[in-house]
Structures are given as structure tokens and as C-alpha cells.
Symmetry: none
Subunit: 219 residues, 4 copies
């Protein structure tokens, strides 16, 4: 009996999780297309194939869904980036990989790219995962004498701002991945590398991402 109950509970929980995931997936697609401001509950439930009521069984408000989506994306994104930069010895290469990997992901799964871009524009709380990761690498690079010392905030905003803008360009197909290579080269130069080396590392990183990133959509 007990076993039965437990099994049933587990079962129910699984179903809950599955429905929740369906709603998140649907929201991803809808928001990628319309943006968070134009997307309605109707859109979400239609895309997920569930009823209005069900939506509210999982998310008390639309805002909550957006937040959940935001967190979900930030976490999976950070995880992927972590995997790529793991074990890298050179912090400069680490940063280059970080950026190139992000664009690799965005290119292969544009929906996530759009959603990240669009949610970012709203007042949604921004997740600190990537910032933290950046700070760690950057600090390490300075410590090792690889980068010229600089205020971390400025360095971070330089990179994140440029990346964000390039992301919009790439997603709109107004720029391709070579654009990113140029950008990374400029950034590394800003941080203190010689132009030659910066170019070299950026190129390397891109290649490595292209080859090694066996990427598959996470949702």
C-alpha cells in the first residue's frame, strides 16, 4: 500500500514537472516570436496545449512564468559555458571561449537568444551567474599578469554591452559569427593583449567552439 502511494505520488510529481516544462517551452517559443510584452496567457496555453486554468496551477502570475523562464535560461546557459571553459589554462582563452560559446548557443538555438535579449530589456531581475563567472576569470587574468589591471566593472560592462549588441545583430542576421571574432579581438586588446595575440586567441576560440560544442537545445 505504502509503496503504491509513494509510487503514485512520484508519478504525479513527474507529471507536474512535465506540464511545467511544457509551459516553459511554449513560453520560450512565444516570447522569442513576440517578445515578453506582446505575449499573452492565451498564447502560452495555446502553444502548450493546456487550458488557461492549468497555467495558473503552475504560475500564479505571468510575471512568475517570466521569472522562472529567466532563471531557467540563466542556469542552463551558465552550465554550458562552465563546461566549455572548464580546464582551460589561459584566462584570455577562457574569456574568448566564453563569448564564442555564447554565440554558438545563440546561433543554434535562436529562441533562447531572443528571449535572453528581450527579457533583459525588461525590469526582470538580472541573474548574476555570468557576471560572477566573468569576474573570476578576469581577476585571475590580472593576477597572472595576463591582462593589464583595470576596474572590473568597466571591463565587464565593455564585454557584456558589446556582446549584447552583437547578439541582436547576429540574431537579426545583420552580422555573422566573424563579426564576433572581430569583437573578441578588440575586447582582448582592450584588456591588454597585443593585437596579434588577441586575434590569434579569438580565432582559436571560435574554432574550438565550432568543433567541440556538441550542442543540443536544452529544453
Amino acid at each position: 500500500m505504502r509503496v503504491n502511494l509513494e509510487a503514485r505520488a512520484a508519478n504525479a510529481e513527474q507529471r507536474r514537472a512535465r506540464t511545467r516544462l511544457r509551459l516553459l517551452e511554449a513560453a520560450l517559443a512565444v516570447i522569442a516570436e513576440k517578445g515578453p510584452d506582446q505575449a499573452s496567457v492565451e498564447d502560452f496555453v495555446a502553444a502548450a496545449g493546456v487550458s488557461r486554468g492549468t497555467f495558473y496551477n503552475y504560475f500564479p502570475t505571468v510575471e512568475d512564468l517570466l521569472e522562472a523562464l529567466n532563471s531557467h535560461l540563466a542556469e542552463t546557459f551558465d552550465t554550458e559555458i562552465g563546461r566549455i571553459t572548464e580546464g582551460v589554462r589561459d584566462p584570455a582563452l577562457g574569456l574568448a571561449l566564453l563569448v564564442h560559446a555564447a554565440f554558438q548557443i545563440v546561433t543554434h538555438d535562436p529562441m533562447r537568444g531572443w528571449v535572453a535579449l528581450r527579457i533583459f530589456g525588461t525590469s526582470a531581475p538580472r541573474h548574476q551567474l555570468l557576471a560572477t563567472r566573468f569576474d573570476a576569470i578576469f581577476g585571475w587574468a590580472v593576477e597572472r599578469g595576463r591582462f593589464r589591471p583595470a576596474v572590473a566593472d568597466a571591463a565587464r560592462n565593455l564585454l557584456f554591452g558589446a556582446v549584447r549588441m552583437a547578439q541582436a545583430e547576429v540574431l537579426s542576421k545583420r552580422a555573422d559569427l566573424d563579426h564576433v571574432t572581430d569583437l573578441v579581438r578588440l575586447i582582448l586588446t582592450a584588456y591588454g593583449l597585443e593585437a596579434q595575440e588577441a586575434a590569434e586567441i579569438s580565432r582559436q576560440a571560435q574554432e574550438r567552439c565550432r568543433n567541440e560544442l556538441h550542442y543540443s537545445p536544452v529544453m
Copy 2:
């Protein structure tokens, strides 16, 4: 008789212009606070102190108001930037002035800063004035051997992306104008200047903006 009619027409025209301006000013304040997507006609007319109907006497739709505001801001902004960079001999200093001046304006008239930031995030047609201005200076710098040759798109996105992100930080008071000085230094370094000189020029430019920019709100 004729004179009377003409005078009356002129009078009416003035009234019209004044009301239109009031609406634009009000919209500036409202959008700075709420963003273009959350602002309603009700907000605009309440802020302008006119009736709902009056709004539609001036702008057929909200979109039209936003567009008018957008153009207005882009033009005044560009004009101001133009005045500041006029007569500058060194393109590197020109770019530094461009960025610092922008932040000077944004700091003194945060509403415009917010509106620029927020409208930028929408699908509103982006004005090309500043991009054009940047390209001219950058091309000139490369030609003169002041900057290392680079793809203009990448160089532009680096600067505009970073500036945009810093603008959000500064407006939110999470960063001050020193942050901008750091940023400009990094950017100039990315473009090929020595770290030392980059820092020097950035500092100079900031000082000059602080002293020379007798700024007053344009609307």
C-alpha cells in the same frame, strides 16, 4: 480685416505648437519612468494636463507620438554632440568627447537618457545619426594611423554596446562618471592606443566636457 485673420491664424498656430510641445515633454517624463510599452495615452494626457481627445488632435496613435519623440531626441542629441566635437583635431579625442558628452547630457537630463535607453529596446526605427558620426571619426582615425585598422562594424558595436550598458548603470546610480572614464580608456586601447595615452585622453575629454558643456534641457 485681413490683418485680423492673419494674426488669428498665427495665434492658433502658436497654440498648437505649444500644446504639441507640452505633450512631447509629458511623454518624455512618462516614458522615462515607465518605458514606452507601459505608457498609456491616459498617462500622457494626465502628465500634459490636457484631455484625452486633445492627444488625438496631435498624434493619430501612440506610436506616432513615440516616433516624433524619438526623432526629436535623436536630432537634438546629435546636434549637441556635433557642437562638442567640432574643431577637434585628434580623432581619438573626438571619440572620447563623443562618449563623455553623451554621458554628461544623460547625467544632467536623465529623462532623455532613460527614454533613449527604453526606446532603443523597442522596434522603433533607430536613427542613424550617431552611427554615421562615429563611422566618420573612426575612419578618419584609421586613415591618419591613429587607430589600428579594424572592421568598422565591430568597432562601432563595441563602443555603442558598452556605452549603452554603462548608460543603464549610470542612470540607475550603480555607476558614476568615473566608470565612463575607465570605459573610454578601454575602448581607446581596443582601437590601438597605448594604455597610457588612452587613459590620458579619456581623462582630458571628461574634464573638458565637465567644464565646457553648458548644458540645459532641450525641451
Copy 3:
């Protein structure tokens, strides 16, 4: 489980049908009073006792409601007329019955009468059911030598125009059903019957309608 779901679905469907009917009924009353051009959604929902939003759950626009109402009325009307003229051997009597029955209905359910009158005046697509029915009977009468040959269009417009005008008079209580008897007599005379016989048939038809038409509102 399955049964439960099915039952629930059936239940929901019933609710839907009931609400839809309530809206149509309410619209009938409202339009009878104000006419389709002066009726607002507010009027409809107030009369139906539902909320504004509910209206749009059933009809995308006011126009759609009117159309549904129009079709509904035309069909029920034609059905009733059909029942009355069924099995009649003499086409002249058939036409007389058609007209008298229409007025019987209009008298007992003035709302439908008004709505028919008022919707007719708009650009709503006119239903052809009655016209078709008339043409059939008229053609039959001519064929049988009962009516003098005539262009069907003229004959139809004579009857429909006169009936429409009389309907307005009767509904406004400026005329009673004897007026209709006179009118039918004139029409039958126009079609070629002797005055005496025309009067006789019109009287007969009226009586028959009065006795046999166990009429009850359809909505």
C-alpha cells in the same frame, strides 16, 4: 474518469449554448427597441446580465452578433411560414396565408417584428428564404392560370414593399390586422383575381391564421 470528462465537456457545452442564447435574446430586445445602429455592446450585456468580456467570448464583434441574430430570425420565420402554407392547394390562398401568418407572428412577438424591420434597413446580407418561397408560389399560380402572368420581380417587390410598410404601421399601432386584410385583397387583385374573390380569400386566410396559429415565441 472518461465518463467524468465527457460529462464535464457536455456540461460546459450546455452552459455555452445557454449563454449564447441569452445574448441573442437580449440582443433581440435591445434591437427591437433601439435599432441595430444605436445598440451598443453595453446594452447587450446589460440586457443579458453578463459582463462585457463575456460578450466577446461569443461574438468577435457586434456585427457577428447581428448576423447570427439575422440568420436565426430568418430561419425560424421561414420555418413557421412553411408550416402554415404546407398542403395548401390554391396558390392564391398560399400567398394570402404567407402574409397573414407573417403579421400574426409579428403581432404576437413584436420584438421579432421590429428587429426584422430594422435589420432590413441596414446593409446586413438579406436572407433569400422568403423571396424564394414567394417566387415558388407565384410561379405556380401563374402556371395554373390563377394569376395573370407578370414579371416576378415586380410582383415580389409589390408584396414585400407593401408588407414591410404595413408592418411598420401595425407595430406602431397605427394600423390593425384589418389593414392587412385590405392590403392582401389589393395585392391579390393586382395579381389578377377578381375583387370579390380576392377579398374572400384574404378574409379566409386571416381567419385561418388567427385560429390555427398556435404561436409561441421562438427564443
Copy 4:
């Protein structure tokens, strides 16, 4: 001095009348196109080339304009009809002329035709001029033994209803003037004429209208 003042007053009055007429003309055109319910003050003043304010100097409300237009049309219409039926000896021919003349007018000046049709559908007070004229001719015909005695109301509604319906058809070009000839024949038959004679008189009347009606728009 006095003369001057008087002359000036007369002048002013003339101008007033002219502006008023312009507004009526404009309203005629607008209503013919859009119908009275869809026409706005804006439409009227745009068509008349005057300002909103001027409109209200002449008509306190839109309703008043419609009423004035209604009266204006009824009067000019009646005048024209009167001219045509003047001196006719045979009342049957008189009625036939009345109808054919009406259609002649409507055909040559469709705007008036549409407006009459459309205003009629509203709750505007109906003018009795034509009804009175009909009653006079009909009574005369009965008295003379030309028509079979009948209730005047029924006879009138038969004719007016049929004419109104035919008018809609003719204006929509779904019927031509031959349709009217058929209709008049049926009506005269209904009133007691022999079919042969009815046809003959209807034809005669139509011809006469076509030839003699030197029609020109009245406004």
C-alpha cells in the same frame, strides 16, 4: 446711412443663406454616400469647406441639420411632383405620373434618392406632403368611379411601400425603369383598372415623364 445699414443687413442675410445652403448640399452628398448614421460633423464641414464652429452657427445639433435636409427634400420633391401632375384630367394617369416622376428624379439625382431612402429609415418625422397628395388623387379617382372603393390607408401603403422598395432596387442598379412600369401597372390593377388599361397608362406616364421632365438638380 439707413440705406447703407439695410443694404448691409440684406447682404449679410444673403451670405447666411448661402452658407446654410452649402452645408445642406454638403450634407446631401455625404449622407448619400455614407448614410446618416455614419456621417460625422467632420464630414459635413469638410465637404462644405467651412469650420466646425460655423456648422454650429447654423444648426444647433446634427439632428437639426438632418431635419432641415429632410424638410428641404420633401418640399422640393413635392413641388416637382405637383408641377408634373398639374392639369391632368385622369386621376389614374395622375397617380402613374406621380410614381414615374419620382423615379425620374431619383434616377437623375441619385443623391436625393439615397438620402430620402436613408433618412426614411430613421426616426425622423416623416413629411406628409406626398401622402396628402396621394390621398387627394385617390379620393378623386374613387369619387369619379375610376378606382374601385378601398380603404385609403391600405391603398396608400401598397403604393408607398412598393415604391420605396423599388427605389432601393433602382438606386442599386438591380432594377431599371421598366421595373417601375411593371410596378405601376400592378398597382393600378389593384386599384381596379383593367390589366390592359393599367399597362397602357403606366407606359404613357413613363414616356411623358421621360420627355417632359426637364429635370435639373434643385440644390
